[in-house]
Amino acid sequence: MKLLLIGECREGKLLEYSYELFGFASQAGAETAMLIVGGEGALPGYGGTVYLADAGKYGEYNPDLHKRLVQAVVERERPDYVVFMHTSYGWDLAPRVAALLKVPQVSEVVALAEGGGFERPCLSQKMRQVVKPKGTPVVLTLQGGAFPALVPGGTPQVQPIDAAGEGRLEFLGYEAAARKGVDLTKAEVIVSVGRGVGKKENIPVIAELARVLGGEVGASRPVVDSGWMDAGSQVGVTGQTVSPKLYVACGISGAIQHLAGMKKSGFIVAINKDKEAPIAGVADVLVVADVMQFVPALTAKLAK
């Protein structure tokens, strides 16, 4: 079995999570080749074949051309799977490649299942489904963190690769992350507000618990999106990654994108009315309660 792994570059560097592709390949027990649209500075520590397309010519984000580059490598390597990470680059490019090659795609794979199937999450991570693609090659995207990062080591054999075509998207540039407000990465205690807190007016109740515990207030994304709190308080893949001694998740369901930002915390307490909420998978303690009843009671007792 052979896999074509699609590495991902930003501002000239190979993104760290691209090494999870090798972790997947090793679990699959497969041969590999990699494609990178980047420069010499982006080459991985890997002794196999790396097809290198020049980012100066093809851009770091130019999916109409990148899909042609993938196609060109697929024609040479004839892989069984074409594997992306399930990221803003991967979920953007993978369906274009699948459509061009007229082959199946399975998104956000978390495990290999028996008999050529793939396990993937559904219903906002609450459940799992196993699916089987019909036809090859199969285009896959992998959930971040589902497979261990692995640096195979060695120096790649570089093969230049080119493709013809026009891109219809004009990339105008990157914008750095907004970083205002407190630096949550330094906090020892974080009490985070999720959508389950109900409304903006309830936030002071949560903030009071944070104060009594000597901590800071964090937030899940919908809380930021609806303007209850500043973007600087967001925890998760598109916010800050934190690892306080104590993390208290108030009315947070535990979406994978939130967990990515807090699962390394020392001790995790989740307060949720839903016993089945996926946050239970990473929590040390799950308090099954209405957050707006439980938190004031806890604060009052602690303040004594």
């Binding site: 369906p95 998104s107 693609p133 990157y174 799950l286 439980f294």
Partner: protein
């Protein structure tokens, strides 16, 4: 200008899910359904653009599914969509993302839409494939994961959200497909007069057989709860008792309570 918004109706994610008789998807009994969260941003963006252009664009709201999805279409219309299209398919759940995209593309092919808005992904299945695949099938330009949107004279300028809060700005010409990420705008709540008005708006019904000409590429074979990996201590029962037990655990297991 013609705008198409594709919306999916999904179950409330706070529900408990059980396998259906086929064993490969969830049973619908006792579930409440709503508009896919990502798609509410798509509807809002279409309506904002219509307002920006003085009401000129016509906004079509399309959903594929059983008769219950008409509720979702009505919500789109009460937020400001002009007309609805219900692709009637009692077995919509048996289609894969590729077939769903092919149905939408087959409908849109003859309609000459300038802009097609979809959600980044559905909350229930979450493949993040349908929007991009529609673009590929129609040969439209496409940008995904959009958290900022501007339009002028046939040019769309978007901000794509990348990892770690970084954004990438991209410009593309219509006809285009844009997939909407959470936080793109503030989806409005339909007002009562607009809910009443929406009742009178046209919803065209198209049987799926007229639009589906593609075979499935991904077959489902299993549906289940994830293997329990956590070892959380679950505190249930009396509130005061829960508080005491939690404080006890925190004193025991963490150094934050003195």
């Amino acid at each position: 200008m013609k705008i198409l918004v594709c919306i999916k109706q999904v179950p409330d994610m706070e529900s408990r899910f059980k396998p259906d008789a086929s064993g490969v998807w969830y049973a619908e009994t006792d579930l409440a359904f709503r508009v896919n969260e990502y798609d509410e941003y798509a509807i809002e963006q279409a309506v904002l653009l219509k307002e920006q252009l003085g009401g000129e664009p016509e906004v079509t709201v399309l959903s594929i599914g059983a008769d219950r999805v008409v509720e979702a279409i009505k919500k789109g219309l009460s937020m400001g969509g002009d007309r609805g299209v219900h692709v009637q398919d009692a077995a919509a759940h048996l289609k894969d993302s590729w077939q769903v995209a092919s149905i939408i593309a087959a409908y849109a092919a003859g309609e000459g839409f300038d802009l097609i808005l979809t959600g980044l992904q559905s909350q229930d299945r979450g493949s993040a494939q349908v929007g991009v695949t529609v673009a590929e099938l129609l040969d439209y330009a496409c940008a995904t994961t959009v958290v900022g949107f501007g339009y002028a004279d046939g040019t769309v300028t978007v901000k794509r959200e990348l990892e770690g809060g970084v954004k990438g700005t991209v410009r593309l010409k219509t006809p285009a497909v844009v997939t909407c990420q959470l936080g793109l705008n503030q989806p409005r709540y339909p007002t009562l007069p607009n809910i009443m008005k929406a009742k009178k708006k046209e919803v065209r019904v198209i049987p799926v057989a007229e639009l589906l000409h593609q075979d499935q590429r991904v077959a489902p074979c299993e549906f289940r709860a994830p293997a329990k990996k956590g070892s959380a201590v679950v505190l249930e029962g009396e509130l005061a008792d829960q508080v005491d037990r939690l404080i006890g655990i925190l004193k025991d297991k963490t150094a934050v309570l003195r």
